[in-house]
Symmetry: C2
Subunit: 378 residues, 2 copies
């Protein structure tokens, strides 16, 4: 381990999914359907499940939405989190409806007695609570107090810590400890610093994210940089990527972040050379067709907790050697392709046969069970 051991934090169960306690980092997303539309919401949750989402959160803007949660829960397998702002009665109704976790935003639920009441009911029902701090919903004066002395990013981080501590204290006063904590901002350094402070101040598991990160690719990059820094620093027990896209994209990006750090590499990993003036084929097209053809295999391996690394290279000379660590690969040149395994050529085939042969060799490796963790996993 180059990035050091991950400290084990307190275990909190969100339905069937453990968060903290040494469990793998789970991936969350949030539906974008109208929560009151049960059918549409259930359909979107099924898509998220298929994509590898572990926990799903729903907006609960009103009582009708809160009352729909039970019907949604009955149709899905993922643990369900109700996202609550402003009105604690919606949290109480969500608990009655059988959700697995409540997210409370301290900036938007400031009356101590309301928080205490939610804690008591959640405690009785065995429902977890996320103290979900968001830099933007803190009262401005909470940052102002630190800003002159410490600068803006540190001030944001300290104000988020204060907000988290205040709400945690209210929950603990009710004997409630099934707490997950988050502190999200748009600014990456401020977010990283906030989690460092919170990790030092308590041992509750951490839900990590960068909020309102922006359109892809900028938002994807901002999330990957921020969450990558946190995870490599040993911080983060569950994550959510926030993108204004189909939520399935959030799950794909979240899993790719974990994959990049070898924290939870499962299914298919594609190595693709970027191509250059030496490349004589449509390599991106080939890679995209391969990805499509292998989508089912990816899901199958994913479910089995197995993985395979496949390389798509655009250079017959450099390709096999450069992708030595791939279980199977192709080095595509003009009119032909060399199919190789761990750098050793297996067969040279005509251009039209490349994709079929590649898939065939991959299926063979998978059938023979020889797709263990790749050699570079650290």
């Amino acid at each position: 381990m180059i990035f050091g051991a991950r400290p084990v934090r307190r275990l909190v169960r969100v339905g069937s999914v453990p968060v903290g306690g040494g469990a793998p980092v789970s991936v969350q997303s949030m539906t974008k359907t109208d929560t009151r539309d049960v059918a549409a919401t259930v359909a979107q949750i099924h898509q998220l499940t298929e994509a590898g989402c572990d926990i799903v959160r729903l907006a609960v803007p009103d009582l009708a939405a809160a009352r729909a949660l039970g019907a949604i829960k009955a149709e899905i397998t993922l643990p369900l989190v109700a996202d609550i702002h402003f009105n604690h009665r919606l949290a109480l109704e969500a608990i009655r409806q059988g959700v697995d976790k409540i997210r409370l935003n301290p900036g938007n639920l400031r009356k101590p007695e309301y928080v205490s009441e939610v804690a008591r009911r959640a405690g009785e029902a065995g429902v977890a609570i996320r103290v979900g701090v968001n830099a933007g919903s803190l009262p401005p004066e909470s940052r102002a107090r630190y800003e002159a002395e410490h600068g803006p990013a540190e001030a944001t981080a300290r104000a988020m810590l204060d907000a988290a501590k205040e709400q945690i204290a209210l929950l603990e006063a009710e004997g409630f400890h099934d707490i997950v904590v988050s502190a999200k901002a748009f600014d990456v350094p401020a977010t990283v610093r906030a989690y460092q402070l919170i990790a030092a101040a308590c041992d509750y598991p951490l839900h990590i994210g960068i909020t309102e990160a922006g359109l892809p690719p900028a938002g994807t990059v901002r999330s990957a940089v921020g969450l990558g820094l946190l995870l490599a620093g040993g911080l983060g027990d569950t994550l959510r990527v926030s993108l204004p896209t189909d939520p399935v994209e959030e799950v794909r990006v979240g899993r790719a972040i974990l994959g990049a750090l070898n924290l939870r590499r499962r299914g298919l990993t594609l190595v693709v050379c970027p191509t250059c003036g030496r490349c004589e084929v449509d390599l991106r097209g080939l890679a995209e067709r391969a990805e499509q053809r292998l989508a089912d295999l990816d899901r199958r391996l994913h479910e089995q907790g197995r993985e395979i690394t496949v390389a798509i290279m655009g250079c017959v000379v450099n390709g096999p050697g450069e992708a030595r660590e791939a279980h199977v690969g192709v080095a595509a040149g003009k009119g032909r392709g060399v199919i190789f395994s761990h750098g050793h050529p297996l067969r040279t085939v005509e251009e039209g046969q490349v994709l079929d042969t590649l898939v065939e060799e991959i299926e063979k490796v998978v059938r023979e069970g020889s797709a263990p963790a790749p050699p570079t996993t650290s």
Copy 2:
């Protein structure tokens, strides 16, 4: 500065662009056209220049490609790097053609006397050299020596360090010191570790990258995680993102990585809420239209070294507060939008007027010169 000061490394000039010596981190890309096709290559370099690329590299697979470099150089403003593998004569011809830097891959150019000859000619011509190590092109025995004791990622890192040191020694023996070093792998932990070792072993500036990172979004994520970790750790004087896409995407992603760390934030930064079941408008569409409408402004600000943060929020209640740090923003609700500045509402307009009004207010801020660094820059 939450991530600590960036150590200043030796300054190397690549044409007009300083690398190291405390200069801003520059963004590179590589053309994907046939280098021998001067018109196509020049056209692609112009697109890269427009996108904010600082340095461009070209494949030089043969003598015809090497001989085209002078004609290409005459038509562009960016410093030009010739990518050399196997044949040192191509490097010599590239130097004659007036390129600004040569990239040599130690794994593919192993005869010491060839490296020495390139160093002498480059030294006479004032051309920089990148020692460009790639994990995949190292001889397998170089890793094997370390693997049993140190594990695969550390072994890869040490083998890359050895290859770099060997080629650096050859260059230094010729009195050559205009050296940039890179050590790229697909594995993020191995890559980060290699740069840590190299940074400790010499003070030449570092060119950073994750090689063959894969198709977007996975390849984008892998690059952002890897380069984010390096940059936050103070490593990296120039970068290249490797994606099998239009190279303009590499530049956008590279700049976004720097932007996420506030290392080189210029032009337009878009804050976009991810939307949820509370959102009643097509926020992604609005954000994409805004991004398009503001593309020219982005370029203008970019050239002037100025920046502006604009927020596109899907919630009239939460939006303005959450995006308090944006110079200008919109909170879009059903049928109307609230245009705000630093969290304070300016005007409420009908849905059809939202985009025009937003752009108008942004142009006003820019005209009045009030687009300094945003408050959260750390």
